[in-house]
Amino acid sequence: MAPQVLIPQSADEAATLYGDGEGITVFAGGTILMPELASGRIRPERALLLHASGLSGIRSDGGVIRIGAMTPVAALVDGPVPWLLSIYATHVADYEVRQSATIGGNICAPPGRESQRGDLGAALIALGARVRSAGKGGERTEAVEDFLSGDRSGRLVLEIEIDVDAARKSGASGKRRKHAHSYAIANVAIAERDGELRVAVAGVGPTAVRCRSVEASRDPQDVLEDVDPVDDAVATAEYRRQILPLLVREALDRLETE
């Protein structure tokens, strides 16, 4: 049966139509969903298309940068966002896919089969970003790592918030496949604010993860207590375990020398 297609014209209408999300498939940029649809792997009952809902744009609001869920990844590359987020946006897909791919779709991406997704997650966790979402029980705002590790189904992401002074210093290091779409093998993002360190890793499992053991000890080897790397078409879990401590070391060094 052809899906029912809903095209809200405002954020409020989007939240109302979404309700508790039951039977709804949210279409943002479509860069993950359209191939799924074309191959018949998904058959949406009701499709909620967000392109006209006014959820796109980056604005600064007091001490907070607010990034609408529909903001294209391309707008983060040279937009008014912290360096750490820009640098990871630069490595998402290619020029054209970044024009369609959204930040909301990036943090809501379901686990990939061949490669890991959600490359922006590590930067967002390190920057202490928060996710504002609607759904059952109304709106809520939570830390991005809580959003990622919780049950994301039933949530409509509206906005990402980042404090303007989220990072006094930041460091990044990563390993990617040498390929036009540079699929991530492992990405590390670290930010320091008021002497407090936030460390996160993406690209090694279904979602980005905050690395509290490393934050506490500053010992790169402890990253293997925080994450449990997977095997996929891009790299083996063993390889990821080997390089992760090295990448954490590199990102920590960059933080120190910045």
Partner: protein, 175 residues
């Protein structure tokens, strides 16, 4: 829904989630955008949506309702090639030609964006998501740089097919 494709406005009757690629090819008979991977990974389906290059296989038609679409058919004509097309011809930047529609659309948009000569690394960045299985890319990159510098002559001797020549149609062929 409505689309203006290469200057011609049409009412669209495909279902709203149909990829723009299939609306162009199957409903409007505009067949230069090719159905390659249909997963966003190869670039041959690239068209301009309000001047910006987009993967038509990843774009639900409802999301571009009202937009102006440019495909290779809207870039030049057999007798009057655009600078990028002429450069591809002169520099032998196409072999089988399957990737060429996407390459030319992305290159055309890049040169429009920069408004002048483009550097090699800018071409690599703009065309990085486009796969070519024939040329080895060198001639493509050279062609785009030459076009951006206006280093293309008048292509006079293009073998334009005669009207009335039998056209070969293979059912189900992606071409």
């Amino acid at each position: 829904m409505r689309l203006t494709v290469n200057g011609i406005e049409s009412e669209i009757s495909s279902p709203p989630l149909t990829p723009l690629l299939h609306v162009l090819r199957d409903e409007l008979d505009v067949t230069s955008p090719k159905a390659g991977c249909q997963q966003g990974g190869c670039g041959t389906c690239t068209v301009l949506v309000d001047g910006e290059p987009r993967r038509s296989c990843l774009t639900p038609v409802a999301a571009v309702d009202g937009a102006s679409i440019t495909t290779l058919e809207g870039v030049g004509e057999p007798e009057r090639l655009s600078p990028v097309q002429a450069a591809f011809y002169e520099k032998y930047a196409a072999q089988c030609g399957f990737c060429t529609p996407g390459m030319i659309m992305a290159a055309t948009a890049l040169i429009d964006r920069k408004g002048g000569p483009v550097e090699r690394d800018e071409v690599l960045e703009a065309l990085g998501g486009h796969y070519c299985r024939c040329t080895g890319y060198v001639k493509i990159v050279d062609a785009v740089m030459a076009a951006s510098r206006g280093e293309v002559g008048d292509v006079q001797d293009l073998p334009v097919s005669e009207a009335g020549e039998p056209s070969v149609e293979v059912h189900g062929s992606p071409a």
